[in-house]
Symmetry: C2
Subunit: 431 residues, 2 copies
């Protein structure tokens, strides 16, 4: 097999075989095939696409380039969820304890990642003492014992994907649905879960801007999952405004705690319950979708979900006393952002709200950046809210940096007009 | 300017500006832009094409990446020709002396190149003593004095093209008309000539397999030449069978000498005279195309062209005594290839005939290969010839290697049937 022939084959619109894709990924991971041939191939894929089988072979070959997590020691059906990323997305922090409180096994390895805020792992680190690194046996043991563990990624998961992604980033081949789907699924297929719900965000605050693209991505990921023998469901959920109100690491833990205590914002609760209901069915704990939703709502209201969260934090070494008043996790320095107009909030540019949090120090722009866990913002208004001139639309939790920039980003991100607008949050379910 | 933005721009189908193309070529030549970004760009160009202006900017930027030849010291109009490459193409060896004998200034730098046989320079080296390296002043001086010099490429001509070509070769981006046209023209524009005829070969023995592709390439090269201020004509000529009969370095010198003495094969004479007539007009020596053709035919018949050839060889140090019987330049070991069928030659796979010569040692497969100047083959039959079973269809001039392989390549390359077929040699003229 010669790589130049395979580039030509894809360039000419022919599908690559399983063996050819394995040859490419193994050769690239081992450094036998140079970047300049892979980048030409990626651009050919950008133009000529890959079918479902090719995308699956690619995801599997990337999964097999590194370590997979073996959860077989944990009895029962293990579940996982993945979000394609949105502003204010703290669903995992709520969903994990919620599901575990109903008997689902939630063994989650999570990333730090780049973005407006840190990843789930950064957020959990805002709880003093919380240990994100566990030995594999302790991780398994904890899930067996209390039904949940959330730790940082350990081992070398899908190194081929890391290498490919870095190359795509500098060769204008990121925006390619089969490559995006294979990249996400290579890591999900390594996670050891039996059932996975993919939360595909759509809207101007998401990576997928249009519903058509989001559907394509969702369908392909579900297909890859099926071909790889997993139970996969994708939900299309709106990212036309941030999810919930709070954006920032400790701020999102705070809002997760509110939600686990039955006082969460409606959109966050709705998305969490929708995903949770699918996974309760997948885990064969409930058989009726509507009943499952009721059970989940109850667990948020009656304190059992929050109890499980406290069990999780305690098991991983977090200081429970510090959670009695989670507002103490936030920066003491606050700044109000006052509205300059009166009317209904018509639109919120979620990306710019995310950028505002990043400017305050909540997120990383490059892998080397450190983040301030206690900064961020609390957005008091959502699309459809009425706002008066001079009223606070957001509270910033700040250190020194980025305050003016964050203010102006937020003011520009919010469009105020005279119509009370409603948006649809859960758009489609793809199985 | 960021290269990743330029890759995305081309990927999305937008034309690149002059400044952007210069930024890319300068950055790549200096090693500031890595191969893996350029190969992604090349594949994007493969799919999205380049318009005439972009192709011209690319050719000029590649020309300007290295040395250009200054022929301004030579009075009058300097001419050049270029062939896209075919089997048995020894036109330059005949055309140069022929034109010079009629007063045209022919200052030619030629390559060695890869292929079935060596380049023009390798062929001339089969004349004992012929010096292919001349100092720039001596080169100019010789053209001023006798009207012709044919030397090897000196200086660093279009290094960006060399680097790009090597990358295209390993990334399946060779077959892309704007890239082919820019590559050829970058070197032609550096050659210092005022008028250029491009001999674009078409047919299964040529790089361009279809007339439609050959026309595209020809038109684009003519357009680039015009935009760069040169007088450029392209001829489409057939490469459905080898040009002439002899393939191999000394063998082609031999056939050139026959042709310069009025005894050349019709196809070689026709192509040479057609190109020559355009250049006689371009050089303002003749004004009527048909008259020009007659003058050229006469110069081949009356010995003046051959006399000029001898002047050229003498000026560059070649041993004229050895040209009295040019068959002495060939290997003494010959093998006949006998026909296994009887009938008309319906088709000759020129590429396989070229390969046969290469297997005997006449050509290079890699830059490092050495070639045997005295080997090759003399094909006695052309399309339309009648051949009897057991009759010799080719004489091989051999050393030890490749004899059986060459025989079987030749036998398989020649289709024998019952129709007397005629082919059109000069297909189109594009100005």
């Amino acid at each position: 097999m010669h790589i130049v022939d395979l580039i030509a084959k894809k360039r000419d619109g022919y599908p690559l075989t399983k063996e050819e894709i394995e040859f490419i990924i193994q050769g690239y991971t081992k450094g036998k095939i140079p970047d300049y041939q892979i980048s030409a191939l990626l651009m050919a894929i950008y133009f000529e696409n890959m079918n479902d089988e090719e995308s699956t072979y690619l995801a599997l070959a990337m999964r097999d380039s590194g370590d997979s997590i073996d959860l077989s020691e944990i009895p029962g059906i293990k579940v996982d969820k993945h979000s394609t990323g949105g502003v204010g997305d703290k669903v995992t922090l709520v969903l994990g304890p919620l599901l575990a409180s109903l008997g689902v096994k939630f063994a989650k390895m999570s990333g730090r990642g780049l973005g407006h805020t840190g990843g789930t792992i950064d957020k959990l680190e805002s709880i003093p003492g919380y240990q994100v690194v566990l030995e594999a046996e302790d991780f398994i043991e904890q899930v067996k014992k209390i039904g949940i563990a959330i730790v940082g990624q350990s081992g070398d998961v899908a190194p081929a994907d890391k290498k490919l992604y870095a190359l795509r980033d500098v060769t204008a081949t990121v925006e390619c649905i089969p490559l995006i789907a294979s990249s996400i699924m290579s890591k999900k297929l390594a996670s050891g879960a039996d059932a996975i719900v993919l939360d595909v965000k759509v809207g101007h605050g998401a990576f997928m801007k249009t519903e058509a693209d989001a559907v394509k991505l969702a369908k392909l990921m579900v297909e890859i999952g099926k071909l790889a023998g997993k139970k996969v469901t994708a939900l299309l959920t709106g990212m036309d405004e941030p999810l919930g109100h709070k954006i920032g690491n400790a701020l999102e833990v705070y809002e997760a705690i509110e939600t686990l205590n039955g006082e969460g914002p409606k959109d966050l609760v709705d998305v969490t319950v929708e995903i949770g209901a699918h996974l309760l069915l997948d885990a064969q704990i409930e058989t009726d979708f509507e009943v499952a939703k009721v059970k989940l709502q109850e667990a948020l209201q009656n304190g059992t979900a929050y109890e499980k969260f406290l069990e999780l934090v305690e098991a991983q070494g977090g200081d429970l006393d510090r959670l009695d008043d989670p507002s103490l996790l936030l920066s003491k320095n606050t700044v109000e952002v006052l509205s300059e107009k009166e009317g209904y909030v018509m639109d919120i540019n979620a990306l710019d709200i995310g950028k505002a949090a990043m400017r305050l120090g909540a997120g990383r722009e490059t892998k080397e950046d450190t983040i301030d866990l206690d900064v961020g913002l609390d957005l008091h208004k959502k699309i459809g809210s009425y706002v008066k001139k001079g009223e606070s639309i957001a509270t910033l939790y700040v250190r020194e940096k980025g305050i003016d920039e964050a203010k102006s980003l937020i003011l520009n991100a919010i469009s105020i007009g005279n119509q009370e607008k409603h948006i649809v949050l859960i758009k489609q379910t793809i199985k």
